[in-house]
Subunit: 359 residues, 2 copies
């Protein structure tokens, strides 16, 4: 009996679908806030294996989700090789921006190995803990895809439109190619280490894929995602891969074909029916509830959840949000969501399968 | 002999396609900056018919474009009925936010008529000027679509993610429905006045359509866009309508079917081929060059332009950018763009049709 999430990733329809949630470990959980305070800063929380293991397990224990996702941050990959990184309250991550070849050359990819070591340690511990506690929970490892990580590295912080990296694609494509190439290599090492340590599936987050016109999407999204998927697959045949080209919209189908991912994450704006029709038929769809619906709860949470369940009923489907859980989300709403998903699309909420009102 | 833009809007393929550019009148033109300085503030420039007429005509004269678009602002529709509006340098528009029924009731839609009057006056003057100077130039009127205008009215300013209006869709849908209803009505009056004054096509800008999950997209994008298109069409049968559901992605096909627009604008992230396949076959496609490519110029401008021309070669197509022209764009690059588009997809740039290098 294999784990539900892994069965869906092999192309099987599972009813009800497995559920996990992007940013399921995080500030909305009181037990997370407590550990975060103990750790002092975010980077310690993400890199001390004992703490990262505990944070990874918290939501799985509380909500009985079908997957744990490694607690980490996509910016460990630039931070490991030496890019200055600070988490500023109210602003988010702030980095010393990469704007020239000299900036790029100051990074030493070899130094990534210590960050990799701590993350691999976390993966091993989580896997050990899951093995004992709940054998149906799969462990997902992850990394940011090269373009998305490059966006932060070049801009130096979060942004509405990331003009600096988009401009670099036009004015200094050679430098951007170099950075994307470096990130492709380091991401392969990083993910290989996670798979070696016991990750059972890998997810690549390309949160800023939607910023690029088609030709640049092919060069900076498709090509590096392809290389990473191919390299990971060569070393770990059969290890399932989930891609998340956020806001890719009409490029979703081409992304699915080109990368050969086993599942594609879709963001909140996407029509699940159209996504299913654009993607090759064997590819599972992961998503795509509006995180605001979880924050607010009640009728809209129920209606949107059922809509997604119904729309993807005939498809290998992993239920998820379309973007990360928001910090002010009441944990009770996540409980409610899990309950609705486990009831499946056809059974009205609050009624038992025979159609009688429960209470 | 009808105007090229109008022929495409009736479903005809025209080679080379007509071209105009979103924000073709604006800060990147020295003649605009001069008038802007004379006017003092932006709202005067947009509402004094002499000035708005001149600004509307500037890019058409300079670049011989196939269409003039009324120089105005989508926020005249809330400003007219009394919402406080200021343009703050470096920040953009700042409004007193609408957060309650009381805020909404303070607006008096009847007061919109004076703003409507000045805009209609501008349309009449532009139409008169175009009639004499260049009979192939079509005049496009426009408005913001209700959801997009509501985003600014509720948030009170531009934003990365417009949390306030998105939250209102969950927590106070009745108030949002009321505001969208009011905007639908005033937008119909506003566009009717523009058509009466001589606008030859109408464009509805839904710049923030991409923020909503499918169910809310249907309620706040499809429904009001439909109502507006139907009402305008009833009063002006045959007046072509262009919709621009920016970042709608996979919802584009449903938008085209539901609204019955004659053309759909597509943003920079969209695959022109997929857009063409999602939209009903009679609907023209308008777009979608990256404005950064125009700012930067050179090889990428040429390559991306030719790619779009080729991808939409078999489709009624209006060449445009996928988002507004950027303030630092050199006017010379717009000239270059117009030249490339007029050469068509198959003729290599810098060579004459016989294949010899021109100089």
């Amino acid at each position: 009996m294999s784990k539900k999430l892994l069965r869906v990733l092999r192309g099987e329809r599972v009813d009800p679908p497995p559920i996990w949630l992007m940013r399921q470990a995080g500030r909305y959980l009181p037990e997370y806030r407590e550990l975060r305070e103990q750790a002092g800063d975010f980077l310690s929380l993400a890199t001390i294996p004992d703490l990262a293991t505990e944070v990874t397990l918290q939501p799985v224990r509380r909500f009985m989700l079908d997957a744990a996702i490694l607690f980490s941050d996509i910016l460990l990959v630039p931070w490991g090789p030496g890019q200055r990184l600070e988490y500023v309250s109210g602003t988010g991550p702030v980095l010393s921006p990469i704007r020239s070849a000299a900036d790029l050359l100051r990074l030493s990819p070899a130094r990534l190995s210590s960050a990799i070591g701590s993350v691999a340690q976390t993966v091993r511990r989580v896997r050990g803990a899951l093995g004992n506690a709940s054998s149906d929970v799969a462990l997902i490892g992850f990394a940011g895809a090269p373009w998305t990580v490059a966006c932060y590295m070049i801009e130096g912080r979060g942004s509405r439109d990331f003009v600096a990296p988009r401009m670099m694609a036009y004015r200094n494509a050679a430098l951007l190619d170099g950075l994307i190439g470096l990130l492709t290599e380091t991401t392969i090492s990083y993910l290989t280490a996670q798979a070696d340590a016991g990750a059972e599936a890998i997810m690549l987050f390309d949160s800023w894929a939607g910023l690029l016109p088609p030709s640049q999407f092919r060069r900076y999204i498709l090509a590096p995602n392809c290389s990473i998927c191919a390299a990971v697959r060569q070393r770990f045949p059969g290890l399932p891969l989930i891609g998340f080209p956020r806001l890719a919209g009409t490029m979703l189908g081409e992304y699915g074909v080109a990368t050969g991912v086993d599942a594609a994450g879709i963001d909140t704006s996407v029509s699940p029916e159209v996504a299913a029709s654009l993607l090759p038929s064997g590819v599972a769809v992961q998503g795509n509830l509006d995180p605001l619906a979880v924050l607010v709860g009640g009728e809209e949470l129920e209606a949107q959840t059922r809509y997604i369940l119904t729309a993807l009923d005939n498809r290998p489907h992993i239920f998820n949000v379309g973007h990360g859980i928001l910090p002010n989300t009441p944990p009770k709403h996540v409980e409610e969501l899990v309950r609705i998903v486990r009831q499946g699309p056809s059974r009205p909420f609050g009624r038992d399968p025979a159609g009688q009102t429960a209470t």
